[in-house]
Structure formats: structure tokens, C-alpha cells
């Protein structure tokens, strides 16, 4: 309950309505094209899709289809070469340095390899989710405001790591590290979550636990999710919407229930399941 209230307040601070009802999609991508160098091959060849407020949207496709590139374009860890990315009504590609940092703090991201700072404590890793809101002086001495520390402790309890708060991140197991990653992303009070293969460094059982936890938290905090994932079965179990990529083209876009075997065959261009 408490999280929800904080979250709603966070929204109002950012000048957004506390309610979920929004006529426009949270994220709209139009004709997105990416190539890493001017002469190099095109990774994404004109992708269009939109993510709504209550979507848990999976991006699936074979290795090299451009899933990771697509996700990273949204918060500009990768620069798109053409197209529009409209997030919360702003064109992400047109933001300058400061505007981009302010945009990024509204986007939570969970990574394949967790991307924790190994030599820092679990707590400091979670608190680093607030860096976008933390001034230079506070970040220099790692002094975070009381409400941030309280929120971090609550989130750590929520992901089941209350007994590991002071441990160093590299003392934890893979599944535990990803839970730290989840807590760090939620620390931002994100308005959208980007998941880049959150489970592919984990074993099948832990993968399911982690996805279930993310889904639960996303629903609780009412955050839309864009998740790229290569485990089709897990995607169908967890997500309500599937986008299928193949070789930089979108091959499928629809509800998870509507997905048929031939759609998968087309995305993977081979037999799956």
C-alpha cells in the first residue's frame, strides 16, 4: 500500500496524473532504424509499436534479431539512426544531455548481467537507483535522504533480501543479484520498466521466480513493462503481449493468447516448442 502511495506522489511531482487512465500510449515507436556505423548493416529496419499503461510486453526473436538494440534505444543507451521514440509524450531522440538524464530517471532498467557495482554493498547498489535525483554533494559522501533509505529497505524486504542489506553485491548468488537489480530499478519510482533479458543468466527455476516477482511488482506499482526475452515459454506465461522480431523486422505483434505455432515458426524461421 505504502509503495503505491509513494508511487502516486512521484507521479504528481512529475506533473502527471496520479491515475493510470491515459488516452495516449506510454511509449510509441515509429519507423525505428538503427545501424551502429554509417556503412555497417542495419540492425533494426523500421520498427513500429506502442506500449500501453498496463502492458507487460515481451520482445522475442532469435539471437541477433535486434531485441537488445530495440530496448536500449528507448533510454538511448544506443542511439537510433532514424525514426521517432515518443515516451511520456516527449521525443526521446530530441532530448539534450540534461533532459535525457531527467527522462532516464523515469525509466527503470533491469539488465541481463545485473550490472551491479560488485564492490559496493547491496544497499548502496539499490540506493544508486536514486542518483538521478541526488545532488553532487550527497552523492560524493553517499548520504541519501531518509525517505530514500526507508524505501530501499522496504524494497529489499519486498524482494526477499532483508538479510543481505550490508553484504557486498558480489557475495550474492545470481538470483539474489537480479533481485538487487529489481530493487534498484524500482527505487527510481519508474514510470516504465525496460528489461533486457532479465533471466538469461539464471537457471530455469530462478528465472520463473524472478519473472513472477517482476510481474507482481509491476502490477502493484502499475508500471508498464517492455521486456526482451528469448525464452518463449516464459514469455507466453508472463506477458500479456508479444512482439516478435526477426532480422530487424517486426514479424508479430499481438496478445500472448493469440499467438499460434505458425507465428512462432515465422519469427524463428524454424520449429520451436
Amino acid at each position: 500500500m505504502r509503495h503505491e502511495r509513494n508511487f502516486a506522489e512521484g507521479r504528481e511531482e512529475n506533473g502527471l496524473p496520479a491515475e493510470r487512465e491515459r488516452p495516449v500510449p506510454v511509449l510509441e515507436v515509429r519507423n525505428l532504424k538503427v545501424s551502429y556505423s554509417a556503412s555497417g548493416p542495419q540492425i533494426l529496419k523500421g520498427i513500429d509499436f506502442a506500449v500501453d499503461g498496463d502492458d507487460f510486453c515481451a520482445v522475442i526473436g532469435p539471437s541477433g534479431a535486434g531485441k537488445s538494440t530495440l530496448i536500449r534505444c528507448v533510454n538511448r543507451l544506443v542511439e537510433a539512426s532514424d525514426g521517432d521514440i515518443i515516451l511520456f509524450g516527449q521525443d526521446v531522440r530530441k532530448l539534450n544531455g540534461g533532459e535525457l538524464r531527467r527522462m532516464r530517471r523515469r525509466i527503470g532498467m533491469i539488465f541481463q548481467e545485473f550490472n551491479l557495482v560488485n564492490r559496493m554493498s547491496v544497499m548502496d547498489n539499490v540506493l544508486s537507483g536514486r542518483l538521478g535525483y541526488t545532488g553532487a554533494f550527497r552523492s560524493l559522501f553517499k548520504v541519501f535522504p531518509r525517505e530514500d533509505i526507508e524505501r530501499a529497505l522496504e524494497l529489499l524486504e519486498r524482494v526477499g533480501l532483508q538479510d543481505h542489506v550490508d553484504k557486498r553485491a558480489d557475495e550474492l548468488s545470481g538470483g539474489q543479484r537480479q533481485r538487487v537489480g529489481i530493487a534498484r530499478a524500482l527505487m527510481q519510482k519508474p514510470e516504465i520498466l525496460l528489461l533486457d533479458e532479465p533471466t538469461s543468466a539464471l537457471d530455469p527455476k530462478i528465472s520463473r521466480d524472478v519473472m513472477r516477482l517482476i510481474k507482481e511488482l509491476a502490477r502493484e506499482f502499475r508500471v508498464p513493462v517492455l521486456c526482451n526475452i528469448h525464452d518463449v515459454q516464459l514469455a507466453l506465461e508472463t506477458c500479456n503481449r508479444i512482439i516478435g522480431l526477426q532480422d530487424g523486422y517486426k514479424k508479430f505483434d499481438g496478445p500472448a493468447e493469440g499467438m499460434r505455432k505458425q507465428d512462432l515458426d515465422e519469427i524463428y524461421a524454424m520449429e520451436v516448442l
Partner: protein, 274 residues
């Protein structure tokens, strides 16, 4: 049958031949090295040395003997210079760390502000610091700020920059980029990316290097006095000038003690960090 044996013999013979050639090659190379070495010894030691002045084996021992009558009476007057040497090493190392910060930042290829101006500048400063001997640095600073411990501190600092900043820059270049990406993704600014994403990763290497450099700087500080920059070296220089060879030996022993102390401290300090 015979033909088959011949075919089996051919690889063996060519192997033996290759081996013989390699052996001849090695002998030729060894002979060349021996000739060059012999020429070096002849030209530098045999011709250049004033054999008559040495005065045979007894003469050498007699000269060295003067150093064995250690002048213990000098001990009280060594305490302050010894402390000064330690302080010079410590302050010089700390100041060197401060100078190293921007140099390492400029000279690390992945974080340098500009790859065409600042990166070469950073690398140049690293080379400059190391290619000038600490005595030369001390001479420069004695000329600039006068006699005393200050020029020694500055010289030690300048000489330390090269090593500390080079190792730091290399540590920055070898970091895991993933945490950096995460800090950028939460909306962290450049400073936060460096402080949270990079610094924790390089800290053990950097602190280990600084301790090591401090250890070396004790040695460097001990000779700073030879050019008038204070510390034990100055006492050494004075004892030498007074032909008090026993005093010279005592200063050398004092330096030895300092270095041993430094060794012990840096051993435990490094253990505590890593």
C-alpha cells in the same frame, strides 16, 4: 618394401637436418653476444679504470675499512632528518596522487574528455614524469623554491605521477562497462558515473599502487638531500664532505631502517586494503 622404408626415412632425415641448422644458428648468436660483451668490458672497465690508484687488494680493503668504524655519536642528530625523510615521502606521495587524478582521467582512453587533445596530453605527462630522474626534478625545484624539504616533496610528487596515473588509467581502461551503463540508465551525471560506476572498481588497484609508490618514495626521499632538498641525504652529503666515513655508514644504516619500517607498514596496509 624398400621404397616404403625410404619414404619413412625422409621425414626423419629432414628433421635431423633442421635440428642441426638450428644448433649452428644458436652457436653463431652466442658467439656474437660473447664478442660484444668482451668488447664492452674491455672498453669500459679495463681501459677506463685507474688501476694504479686502486693499489691492489689490500688498498681496496684499507679504503673500505674506514667505513666500518661507525660513528654512533651521530644518532641523536639523525632523528629529525629521518622524520623529515618520512614526511617528504608521505606528503610527496599524497601530492603526487592529487596531480595524478587529472592525468589518469586524461590518459584513460575510455573516459578522456577528448581523444585527440587530452588523451595524448595525459600520456605525455605520464612519460614526462617518469623519464626525468627524481634528482633532476629535485634540482629543478631547489632552483625554483630554494633549499629545504619543500623542493624534495615537489620532486617526489612529480616523479610519482607517472606510475600512479599510468596504473590508474590502465585500471580505468580495464573496468567492466556494465555497472557504468546501469548508472547512466538511472539518469546519473558524468561525475556520478565515475564515482559510482568506475571508482569502486579501480579502488583496490589504485590504493595498492599508492602504497607501493610510497614505499619507493621513502628511498627517493632519502637521497633528496644530495642536491640540498633536506632529509637524511643532506646529512649523508655533509658527512661525506667532512670525510667522516663512519658517519656516512650510520646514515646508510638509518636509511635501511626507514626502508624496513616502510616495508612493514606497506605490507600490512596492503593486506588491509586488498
Amino acid at each position: 618394401m624398400v621404397a616404403a622404408v625410404g619414404l619413412q626415412g625422409a621425414p626423419y632425415l629432414s628433421y635431423v637436418e633442421r635440428k642441426r641448422r638450428r644448433r649452428v644458428n644458436n652457436w653463431v648468436i652466442a658467439a656474437c653476444i660473447a664478442v660484444v660483451l668482451g668488447w664492452c668490458i674491455w672498453d669500459t672497465v679495463m681501459v677506463d679504470t685507474d688501476w694504479a690508484r686502486m693499489g691492489g687488494a689490500l688498498g681496496i680493503i684499507g679504503t673500505l675499512e674506514r667505513f666500518f668504524w661507525i660513528d654512533w655519536g651521530l644518532v641523536p642528530s639523525l632523528i629529525v632528518p629521518a622524520l623529515e625523510t618520512m614526511m617528504m615521502a608521505t606528503l610527496g606521495t599524497l601530492l603526487g596522487c592529487v596531480f595524478s587524478l587529472p592525468v589518469a582521467w586524461f590518459g584513460a582512453y575510455n573516459v578522456t574528455p577528448n581523444r585527440y587533445i587530452f588523451y595524448p596530453l595525459g600520456r605525455f605527462l605520464m612519460v614526462l614524469s617518469r623519464s626525468i630522474h627524481e634528482i633532476i626534478w629535485a634540482l629543478l625545484f631547489v632552483g625554483a623554491v630554494g633549499l629545504g624539504a619543500l623542493p624534495g616533496i615537489l620532486a617526489v610528487a612529480m616523479r610519482s605521477v607517472g606510475f600512479i596515473s599510468k596504473i590508474t588509467a590502465e585500471a580505468i581502461e580495464n573496468i567492466d562497462p556494465k555497472p557504468v551503463e546501469a548508472i547512466r540508465a538511472v539518469g546519473g551525471n558524468q561525475f556520478q558515473v565515475m564515482y559510482y560506476g568506475i571508482l569502486p572498481q579501480i579502488l583496490p588497484v589504485v590504493i595498492g599502487t599508492i602504497i607501493f609508490e610510497w614505499d619507493i618514495n621513502i628511498r627517493r626521499s632519502a637521497i633528496m638531500g644530495l642536491v640540498g632538498a633536506g632529509g637524511l641525504g643532506l646529512v649523508f652529503f655533509r658527512q661525506m664532505a667532512m670525510f667522516n666515513y663512519g658517519g656516512v655508514t650510520l646514515v646508510v644504516l638509518a636509511v635501511l631502517v626507514l626502508i624496513a619500517i616502510g616495508e612493514v607498514i606497506s605490507h600490512y596496509a596492503r593486506k588491509a586494503v586488498i
